[in-house]
Subunit: 210 residues, 8 copies
């Protein structure tokens, strides 16, 4: 594992056969301390991995396969993962699962978009307990600014490709987030739940000598 974190294999650009070969090489290493995460695996790619690593966990909504099945015992701070709408759930799950397998405690809060402010205001206690907060939002992408204005922890904003027309496949929320009026907003690529979860886990990592 590079730099102490689990390795990740990007499934989208690979054939099922290529993924199977990679999975077999992990299987042949036997037991491991650090998990491997196969990202962006559709059903066919996930199946190819599971042939070689039958005890891996497949999270179909998040398009992840993780091996071995059990995440490490959590250390460090809490990672909260929020979504503005229901449609942002797959990206949020990718982030949440990634952070968990990188060794953090996680909490998921769904559908607290700013069109109904009471929803996010009702979860202030949880938000203020977190060491890092991932916010997945499409369309207007306004939620990260509002959250960053309410907490002292860093907010990792993930634009999602949810929406249509002038959402331009996630460009609209990407720009909103890059221009967030509250400081403390870190942006990752559109739909990059894996990157958001990884960053959150790094931020919430325990002190090196802790």
């Amino acid at each position: 594992a590079r730099r102490g974190y689990p390795e990740a294999v990007y499934g989208e650009g690979k054939t099922p056969e290529q993924l199977r070969v990679i999975a077999r090489s992990y299987a042949s290493r036997g037991s491991t301390d650090s998990p491997v995460i196969f990202t962006r695996c559709d059903e066919e790619r996930a199946a190819a991995v599971l042939v070689e690593l039958p005890d891996a966990v497949h999270q179909p909504q998040a398009r992840l396969v993780v091996w071995p099945a059990d995440p490490p015992e959590p250390t460090g701070g809490l990672v909260a993962v929020l979504t503005a709408g229901t449609s942002d759930l797959p990206v949020a799950l990718e982030a949440e699962t990634t952070a968990r397998y990188l060794g953090r405690r996680t909490e998921l809060v769904v559908d607290v978009g700013v069109a109904g402010l009471h929803r996010v205001l009702g979860r202030l206690d949880l938000l203020r307990a977190a060491r890092a907060i991932v916010v997945a939002a499409g369309m207007d992408g306004a939620l990260p600014t509002v959250v960053a204005g309410l907490v002292a922890a860093p907010v990792i904003a993930v634009p999602t490709s949810v929406g249509y027309g002038a959402a331009f496949g996630g460009v609209a929320p990407l720009l909103t987030m890059l221009n967030a009026c509250a400081p403390g907003v870190a942006v990752v690529n559109i739909d990059n739940g894996y990157g958001a979860g990884h960053l959150a886990a790094q931020i919430a990592a325990p002190p090196v000598d802790g």
Copy 2:
């Protein structure tokens, strides 16, 4: 006046000489019921208009010259004009002045951006009393969605060219507003305070038989 509304002269694309000729033609008509609004007039252009219409009102921050000086007696509903930041003020003033000279009561509320939610939540009474609300915001452009989620009246969102980098001269808030998660958000061109104020005045107009 077309369709019962004051005429507008777009100053930016005209030379001071051209504007003076137009102003003179209004002056020669003598007294009038309906005002004329010269928009986007810098100091030089405003001066050219004032030579011919010395009793006109010059609003330099809003780059407007209006004649005659007194707005009509207000009718219809209240138009509220909000800004997310201080830098959105010129556009907001252009909207507010336009709506006032189109015959509406207006209220201006400055610097209530979503990074500090208490600011906009503290003005809920005013917002709920309005028949139309103009919201001028640059950078992340998140304020119109939040306001539209709090009121039943239409919200007219004006993206401003405030900001830098990936704000792209107002494109970022323009896209945010077009993708507003709350319904009831009408969008106009970047920095188009005149258009926003006009639309608000039309929406808040008294019933035709009233």
Copy 3:
């Protein structure tokens, strides 16, 4: 219903199963005063909703499912819905149906694009009777400016993704509409018939004390 208007469920980002769960929760509430609108439902999603709300109305061209079946008794002003071409019809129907279920009288006028001016000029009486006018247009998106120049009511312009090449999926008419030379044009997202109809219904709403 938020702020006195029907709730809307955005179908596109949800699985049929998720929609069915939502529909069931409405069914379990029993009779209701205010309708719920499921937007952007393809055949499969509409079917999932209808399993739980069998008496809902399915408008396939507009991709809407509305429940309960009968719109409220209309109040307020007339909402006119225009299209430039035949291909803009689905978006126009989404707007018209939304406005009707929000309690307005509506009229639909199809195929009156500016390449044949006599078509729109022949409907001036209807246009001038409306309190709000929705105009759906793709390709050059020129119709809203022309209509706004002919009436005193606000025009809500909906760019559609009809066209090819440099239409860029609706960007061309979107820009045309944002730059409309006549004031009084409110723009919504590309293909956002729901938002246009909602805005029209708000604008044409009866006075609060009326």
Copy 4:
């Protein structure tokens, strides 16, 4: 002159010194049948040309210098040049002057934008007498479609960089024109009055054996 048409020298990309050298080479040729057109010459560049060709005509609004001073005797059909607004005048003058020095009869019609349809409808007789029509328009760029729907002659649409915000320096009208709903619309580059006038003169040229 290439292919029977006057030569053009693009002034913008050249230093005044370079232009003076070019002008001198024309002066040294002595009398000529075919004019030379220096385009996009600001005051400084025009002065440099006039030093060597003192009898040339300088059209400052159109940024043109033409030599010799007298256009050829007109042949072929009429070229009409229209503008949507006053601010499109410089581009229209560049087109009109170019067509005239290429040997056509020309007519200029200013400020007939579609926000007030009566203006363009009031000039139908002129429009229908033309063999080619140049239409210069900024902001929403809707005028060429309307004109093309009214006449049988080709319409040459020139988007102008008039406007602000989402006009994007002429991109908005450029896209409008490329997507014109009426056939018969030829588009040239933003602010390219020279190209539009040249094309119009070619289209309205007399039959080769005539």
Copy 5:
């Protein structure tokens, strides 16, 4: 027929059923002097039209259905239609067929792109005989400039969506053509063979009193 030219029905935005209804209305008018052109008809749409107008001509590569089958007797000047590559053929055929059914003589020249200059130089006689030249080109879109530098007639440039990567679906050749260094280039929308053929037919039309 509007303005003396055949009517056109845009097939892409219509259902086969809508097209069949339109076709039937033409069938019921009986014989006609002026043809109708159904553009952008895939197999299914073409079949729907042919059910009602069985004697119509179907040009599948150009995606056109034209009725009645015989083009008018040609008048006016020659229209030449060129392609840079083989892949531009469908768009070129759409242009050529349109011009022919609008009453012009036409010639088609395929695969004369500028990467092998001898190909276009070998057809100079034909090019110089034409009254209007349509040039369809994708990728670098360089052919229209070269052709316009060789002839005195107007060149109508049609960018095609042939190519990949930074061709951006035809944007690259569109920009090349708008910036053509030779004057006399008229641009139409990407893949708009119909518009190019129509414009060419208008330009090459016989003199009105001829």
Copy 6:
């Protein structure tokens, strides 16, 4: 101070007069525990602030004015700030100063771009000692990926508007950074040194109970 961090005043969108009024209000509060940061102040704006807060520190290269002059005693982890080239220095200084006044120890490393890998590899010890690393880079923006591949701490990537042509004012490095092949890269707006320094200070903050 919101959420425990210093307040910031965005200078660019304000007149010198507006800034002076704001500065005076801080001066009138007397001594303070938490600094205020005036960002994006050119010479004129900085002077206006200094009139009211004469003991403030002006950092002209970073366009910052900070008051009071002394940063707080540092706590938490080390913040390293890197630049790819010399031209990225102003943005890096803005980040470094911000982090320091938010209470962190900082180190600045200039001109270690990837075109000469030995430069960044020679600073590995420092990089691995940091709790958060800010990387400012323009043009190709490749440095953050390389750094993130070498360390376990989060990397905050700031694209700068250095460069020309297809750098598009910072868009090129912005996209590079959003697509970083190494996980652990957080992106902020183009030239947003303030935001990067703020985020770094939050990430490197001492544990809450520490």
Copy 7:
């Protein structure tokens, strides 16, 4: 063969039938000194070519068919082809095969992206032995700059459409490469392995009198 290099037929824009006709014409020429390369041939198109040229070589991953089967005896310098990730392999193979059939020795090095610098640094000997180096990279496209900083030979950078979101189908690495901080980077179109291999073969060609 034009200019001494093999001919290429662009398969994507042609029907299988058109390709078969072209293949047959090559077959009828009999033996040949210079190969022909059919690019961007999917299974169906490749099959059509192979019917007429059964002894051609089909490279499905690179989507190439080459005839005759044996590449020429290599001359000139070495062409090295690198990929940043596994997903860039098809484009790299297209480049490598093209260079080989144009008569160069080639070496392929896969998966040496900059997120793990040791990978590319481990191949320095090979890189420094090459006369031209093709580097295929998607996402952040950072590898070509790093390589160009390590060698004296020209680097041909091919952006690939690997990635998602703000990779924009290869635009992100395209911009990165155009802005490469190290000189000596030549850029070709996104996914244009054919063009990259051709250019490399030209650069590594033997001296003309050699």
Copy 8:
């Protein structure tokens, strides 16, 4: 000198003071075998360099300062540098000077754009004698394709920001060049004469053992 080539200092992003410090450090090294090139130096920056290196050569049109004054004795092949128009000259001179100071023989050919094909065809002998050809072109950028179709040597295409409107500061010719229909075209950044000259010098370098 890195990798055997002269060092370059990018002037645009540095203050005159910073440049002077750098120049002084070169001066203090005394005589040198390999030159240093200061690129993009306006008058003020060039003067700062010349204070410390008074015997350096200043090429104002190319915005270059080179030291020491004499280029190395030329080796390797000929580098030809072409421009489409006169306005491309500064970029061409930057390329030509760079290649010369990197040790190549160079030839400059100005104003041979494709709108007049005879101009480039008249220089075929020179073009075919070159080992590498730099082509600088703005507006439509068609010249590199035409040249690449005429020669066997690699063509390095430099888009220039000459032009207006839809030239988009050089984006139009950049896209044309990336989509060149002839193989053998290497593209560099807009206005990047330095990079083009460097690449040409590398390609035309003498064989390593030569």
